[in-house]
Symmetry: none
Subunit: 225 residues, 4 copies
């Protein structure tokens, strides 16, 4: 976590720093990111950096926090379109709204994703951060099972893993394609893109929804291998 000195900074300066950091992480990832370059690009003194942050990880953790805060803000203003949505409908809404958020902060999202989904895997530091998301999904799945929306035989942890993998894959795909567009937000909201997202989600949804009997049947049929 950044030191208090950082938060006492005038906002303009603070922004310049985090922008430089975002660019650096987006471009080079966490390991290869250079404090030297961040400092140079943000126009602050080398020593100052160490008065604001502990080290490279510290800056990144701050970006993560910023991302979470902004996401929270973003979702606070949005409301699910319908009252009585089932779990998958809700998940789909969340994913889509998440994609809109990504379009609003593409560079920040890119920087954080690049680190969290790749090198971050190998850092224990980030394990508990990731765990938070996992917890949310786990609760969601359990409710879906209780509501009869998901087959009770489904392994909860497995389902969570699937959902995480899936949303990350979608996120990556959308961000990557989106970065090529002139107006990302417009592109994300376009009917075609929304349909692509829907298709991806339906694959997962169908997989998870299927009834126990279906599964059992297929399982027996096929697993002679």
């Amino acid at each position: 976590m950044p030191k208090p000195t950082f938060f006492n900074l005038p906002e303009e300066k603070r922004e310049k720093i985090i922008n430089a950091a975002i660019d650096e992480f987006a471009e080079y990832g966490l390991e290869k990111a250079s404090i030297n370059r961040i400092v140079a690009n943000s126009g602050i003194a080398k020593g100052s950096f160490y008065q604001y942050f502990e080290d490279k990880h510290d800056v990144f953790l701050h970006l993560l926090a910023v991302l979470e805060r902004e996401k929270m803000e973003y979702f606070k203003d949005k409301h699910p379109p319908a009252r009585n949505m089932d779990t998958f409908q809700y998940f789909r809404w969340m994913i889509k709204t998440g994609m809109e958020f990504n379009s609003a902060y593409p560079r920040l999202v890119q920087a954080v994703s690049r680190v969290m989904l790749n090198e971050g895997m190998y850092y224990l530091d980030f394990a508990n951060i990731r765990e938070r998301t996992t917890q949310g999904l786990r609760t969601m799945i359990r409710q879906a099972i209780q509501n009869g929306e998901v087959d009770p035989s489904v392994d909860v942890d497995l389902a969570v893993m699937i959902m995480e993998t899936w949303s990350n894959a979608i996120s990556n795909y959308i961000l990557q394609e989106g970065m090529k567009q002139k107006d990302i937000m417009k592109w994300v909201r376009s009917a075609k893109t929304q349909e692509t997202i829907d298709k991806m989600l339906y694959v997962m949804e169908y997989g998870l929804r299927k009834t126990e009997s279906d599964f059992a049947k297929t399982f027996q049929e096929r697993t002679t291998s």
Copy 2:
């Protein structure tokens, strides 16, 4: 590609070097891997390294080649259990056999995966290597559509992306859990693990198999968001 000098080395020495390289890449990834450490751990002189390899990438590409060769060998001895398998059955057999292979060479697989699935994303050098796998899957999907196993309305590229994501996710999951086990191979072949793999694959399979009508119906019902 390593220089001829490398292949003239006594096998023992050669193995010591590639083992050190595997450990290094598995631990630090490609970027952060240190030639200094590799030579230290393999007990060769720093100058010798450059008599064997062009540079860091060169060692890694060799590991990649070794992995491919070993995989080829491994699959050559295995035969699909049944004659008339449909595409998904074949895919499932491939994934499972792949997992067995991973259990046979866990550290090598770990080293290569770590690089290919993470930093490798950002290296154009690896794009064409990855493309090879992609091509295989694309062909597979097209055949599945022709065989009527997959709905013709399914977007081929999307399906390929899904299958890639999926097999990587499974591979990661299995390898990660497997590394905690005493006897990986035994664990992978256990009924429980096999069932887990099956479940994961079925989610995907169901998602992709669903008929056009199903999709259309669901699509209209739900996409009011």
Copy 3:
């Protein structure tokens, strides 16, 4: 150009560094000059060097700039002894004053000459720097032709080449011999040395002054070979 950090250094330190650099370039030339040795001899850390300079070329270019500046200063205080000198008289005065300057900064001149006159030939970087001197001489020759001091049939570029070669040769000779003396400046100003310089210059001067008719005559007489 050195970085600002270099110019913020206390003069003493700065001098120690450029002295070490001068010694290094004088001893080893540009290519073989070792930054390691420079930092060792100037007592600074290796990292510091790169905070002062971009690289080896950068230090050298600084020496070049220092030399030019000092030369400018030196010439500013000197005034040609007579008003109505002809071109050759002026050139001779310049060369002689230049030799005095060389005696004032022998090591710096040695270091720069060694690089510029030797390896420098093969560096395009220095081509434009050299071009400046060339331009000056070209103008000088053209005026001399207009003034009727030099035979109009003389090829301007050829004459420039001759003058450059000549002044470099003289400069080299004087510096080389001068370094053996106890008091260079005194030696350079001695009647004997001045006479030597005069003789060298007269060879060139006579050669260039000769009238067209002389040349034509000799040319016909001799070029039967």
Copy 4:
């Protein structure tokens, strides 16, 4: 001097080696020349190099010897066009024939010149080699004085230095321009090139020929500075 082993080599191999060496020295000079590259380009084993030569200097000294031998051969077949040439006519003939020789072995000449005229200056090893040429010129000048062709007051060493500088300058100029031509030899023998050489030489010749009285007069007139 190369070791006996070198001279026992089949001519083809020997030529391959010296060609690689010529290329290396022409491209990189003596200091920056890399034995590694020479070995690679000549297709011999690293160890063999050290069985043929002492070190880098040794190879170069051999090139020098080859150059001298070839030059000797070349001049042996040529004969001055006239019997009763004066010293300057002879010198001019020598220079011109030398230029023809350079055209016949441009790469070898280039390699050797690059080293001898630049870095070579700072190597004592080459001092005695250079001295040989110097001796020849000294004798030539003394004869010219005896023949009354050069003013007896002329300082012999000075004259030698002038002639050396001059022939090097011409050689450099001709080689440099010649390398741009399609057919060097033809270009060198062309009337225009020969005239250029003549002009350069006449400048020197006039300078050196002038009578003592001329010199004394001019010297008094001008040397008020």
